[in-house]
Every structure is written in C-alpha cells, then in structure tokens.
Amino acid sequence: MREILKINNLTKIYKNKLKALDHLTLNILEGEIFALLGPNGAGKSTLINTICGILNFDQGNITVNKFDIMKNYRQARSIIGIVPQELNLEAFETIWDNVNYSRGLYGKSPNYEYIEKLLKDLSLWEKKDNKLRELSGGMKRRVLIAKALSHEPKILFLDEPTASVDVELRKDMWEVIKRLKNKGVTIILTTHYIDEAEEIADRVGIINNGKIILVDEKESLIKKLGQKILKIELAKPIKEIPKKLTSFNLKINTEKDTLTYIYDTKGRNTGITSLLSEIKSEGLQLKDLSTEQSSLESIFLNLVKESENELVRS
C-alpha cells in the first residue's frame, strides 16, 4: 500500500511555550484504519488539527496524497474530512442545510442524491429537517460524520469518535468506520479506548508528549511486545506456593488451585520448561494448562510509563 499521508519532523509550540508536537514523523498508508493512542494532552488532537489546517505549526512538513499542505493546500485539504472531538454544530440549522453547507465549503457542486444516501446510511434521513439543537449527543456525532463525508473525502480523521457515547452507538460507529474502510477511505482515529483500537484498527501508533513512541501492525504489536500469561490449574488445591517456586513470582487464586505465571514472549528463555520441571519435582499434579495474550491496553500503559520515565531521566 502506498503512503497517502506523510508527516515529517513536525513541531508545534503553543503560545504558552507548550511543545505539543515534538519532531514528530509518521506515515499513513492508503486504505488503512490507523488508531492513534495516547493519554490526555499527548498531542493527538493537535496533530489532527495541524494536518487539517486548523492550527499553524512551527517546523516540519506534511504531504497529503503528495500535495504539501501549505503550498498546495487546496488539493491537500479537498480530500480530507474531519470529525472533531467536541459536538460543535450550529444550533439553529437543519441537518440537511448544514450537511449541504459543508459540501459547498469543500468546493463541491450540490449533489442531493449523494447527501440523501449519506444521511440514510447514517440513520439521519428521518431527522433531516430537524434543527441541530434538537438532536441527542449520538445524533450530533452522526451529523458531524455526515458533514465530514459530505465532500466524499479519501482520508477521514476521527478525533475521539466514540467519546461519551453509549455502548450500542459505539458499536454502530465501528460498523460505519468499517464500511468506510471497505469503500477505500483511509481512516485515522484517535482514541482513549484500547478495545476500540483492538476492534477496528489495522495499525496502531502510540503518542506521548508530542512524540510517536511506536507504530506497528496491531496484531504484530500485540505479538511482539505482549506478555503472556500461563495459567496452571492443579488437580488438588495447595496450602501455599512451594518455596522452590517463589523465584518464578507465581500468583495463586483464592481457591488455591490455579497458579498464574507471567512471561515475556520476547525473551529467549521464557522459563516455562524449568517452571514445569520444578512443579513436577514438588509433586504437584496438573489438571490443565492455558495461555492468554496480554491486551493492547497493558502494552500501551507499559510504553507510556516507559516514555514518562525516559522523560524524567532526560
């Protein structure tokens, strides 16, 4: 897949001297769903707003579909759609007027058939003549998506698309995003929700303190960096963990019949063989063994923690 968005050495410093983006470099592939994870204030929204031309930046360059966003801003911006984090809408306009207005801003001639289909796809058609202030939070979020898609963009930025929406609507949103991907739209979303990234993203980027800490395929990230959990179910409960096994940092459940061993898949020696051999020598009988992959959440937390520590050290 070719790179549709290239960000090179991007730096953004706010008036209060806060360095929101720090020599950030990132490439986005055409047609992928890219999830940008990061804690509050990491620079996620600043990055999106800078790419979209909403904020100025101090250093670096950005190209969208090979067009520089400063020199060729018309070509670059015309293929971008953005759904902001806040529910920012004009209160007194109807959905129909407001979505058509957005299409016009992007220099597209009116296409009422397309807008009708878009509103139907997003379950907004029935409410098209309602004023925006009359809509629920979830409906407003859909309107923002409709506005962002009104000019048929190739790249869609979603800034916290499922923030403060209920579970059902969240799943609906995921479906909408997956459908857009199938139509060939490149999607970049920021999120706090790790399960969201796990559910829909192809690649994941982790940002902290304005820097990209890591970018990788979601599956490979989990595989490469993840820790695994080995659950050892015993045939009979034990009183306590035998002394010989204490070096393995095992945990025991309240029923005293399952031992948990956490090991690093990256390490050359996982310690499983010696653990099982020690268990055998202690005369413990096994009932079952199972492994669990650690979640993206724990990977994310570990990386953010590491980056914070690095910052303190430097």
Binding site: K15, N56, Y73, R77, I82, G107
Partner: protein, 253 residues
C-alpha cells in the same frame, strides 16, 4: 478560486438574516421611523432649514450612515465571532478555501445585509420627507463603499474579540459617538470654530459629508476628501486583515 465554498459562506451568512428577519430588517425600519417622528417632525419642525434643505430631509443621509455603519460592523463582527464562539470555525479553516475567499464570503454577506437595510431606510425616509437625490450613482457608490469598508472593520473586531463584551466594546465606545458627533444630525458649520476643527479629526464626518453631497450637493468637506478618506480606511482594513487573518491571528494558534 473555490466558488462553491465562497457561495456556501455567503449564503450561510445571508440565511442568518432570513432566520432573524425581524431583528435584521424590521428593527432598523422601526428605529428609523422613530428618528423621523422625533427629529424630523417633532423637533425638526422647530428648526429652520439648513442650507436650503428642511431638517427632516437634511438628516436622511446621516441616519442612513448611522445605521449602515453600525449594521456593517455588527453583522461582520458577529459573522466571524459566532463560529469562533461555537467552535464551528474548524470546518471553514479545514476547507480548501483561501483567506481571501473566507473574508470575501463573510464581508460580502455583511455588506449585502447592510446595503439592503440602507435601501429599506431610504424607502422609509420617502414616507416622511420629500426625498431628492442629486447624484444617485454617487450615492450608491458611497453606500456600497461604506458597507464594504465597515464590514471589513467589523470582521477585524470579530476576529480580535474573544468574548461578547469585547465584541460590543468598540461599536459602543467608539463608533456610536463618532457617528453622532460626525455631523449626522447637523452641519459642522453650526458649531463654534474650535469644535469645527475638532470635528475634522472624526473620519465619520467625511463619510456623512460625502454621502450628503450625493443627495443635496451640500457638504462640510470636499467630496474628493470624503472619497479619499473612505478609500484610505478601506485600504487600512485590507492591510490589517491581510497581516492578521491570513496568518491565523487569534484563530489558528
């Protein structure tokens, strides 16, 4: 040129006028009528003619200027301030629009609204006084030039303001006094010499004077001085906007 984008901003702003029709059109119509009743008939009947013109007719150009100046400023300042306030400005900034197109859309709409209001006032004045326009094309030219210039000025205020108080500050504290003291309701020849000289420092005087000349061929200053003053002010506004909005002053930072 993004014509559809320009059209979208222009029509979107004009639509705001349609939604607030009472406030936009009926309100200036009522207040103008009240001015005519109070100044034109009640007080005006006791004032002798000024340079051969009845007082009721004399105040028509000043009253039009008073209204279109304040309307141009408030329409344009609110036009850009409101999307900033509601944070909907993001989609205008993210759209493939140049600064020139954005300004043209907002200022064009604000100037059009003021122009419509100006025409409504002229028609309203026709009900109260015997209206006679010596130079209709010059009058229209002045009207359009004033609407555009002060819409640009309003746009600067809207861009600068970050709360409603600031939005009202300059119109209330500076513009309204300048308009009232700029010969809207009197000729500066009626003032003592000292205040005549002070009045010449008021830029609004030149607007009202030039505009009045187009009606009755009477003026406090030469028509060319009036024209030069408004063109100078227009140019100043264009330069300020070029150096501020285009660089994202108070919007993109």
């Amino acid at each position: 040129m993004n014509w559809y984008g320009l059209r979208a901003i222009y029509l979107h702003e004009m639509d705001r006028m349609r939604r607030t029709l009472f406030q936009s059109l009926i309100s200036p119509f009522i207040s103008t009528s009240l001015y005519f009743v109070v100044f034109g008939s009640a007080i005006g009947s006791r004032i002798t003619e000024i340079e051969g013109i009845s007082y009721g007719s004399f105040i028509v150009p000043g009253m039009i200027m008073l209204t279109i100046l304040t309307q141009s400023i408030s329409n344009a300042s609110f036009g850009i301030f409101f999307p900033k306030f509601t944070n909907t400005v993001y989609e205008i900034l993210a759209a493939p629009l140049s600064s020139f197109e954005i300004i043209l859309g907002f200022v064009g709409a604000a100037a059009t609204k003021s122009l419509i209001i100006g025409i409504v006032i002229i028609c309203t004045a026709g009900f109260f006084v015997d209206l006679h326009i010596e130079h209709p094309f010059v009058m229209i030219f002045f009207l359009i030039l004033t609407c555009v210039t002060f819409a640009l000025f309003g746009f600067i205020i809207g861009m600068w303001a970050d709360n409603f108080e600031k939005l009202q500050l300059i119109p209330i504290l500076i513009i309204t006094p300048l308009v009232f003291l700029g010969g809207s309701f009197y000729s500066i020849n009626m003032l003592p010499e000292f205040w005549q000289k002070i009045s010449l420092l008021n830029p609004v005087l030149y607007l009202v004077s030039g505009f009045r000349w187009s009606f009755y061929e009477i003026a406090d200053v030469s028509i060319f001085t009036s024209l030069f003053t408004i063109l100078f002010f227009l140019l100043s506004c264009v330069i300020i906007i070029s150096y501020t909005f285009a660089k994202g002053y108070k919007i993109k930072n």
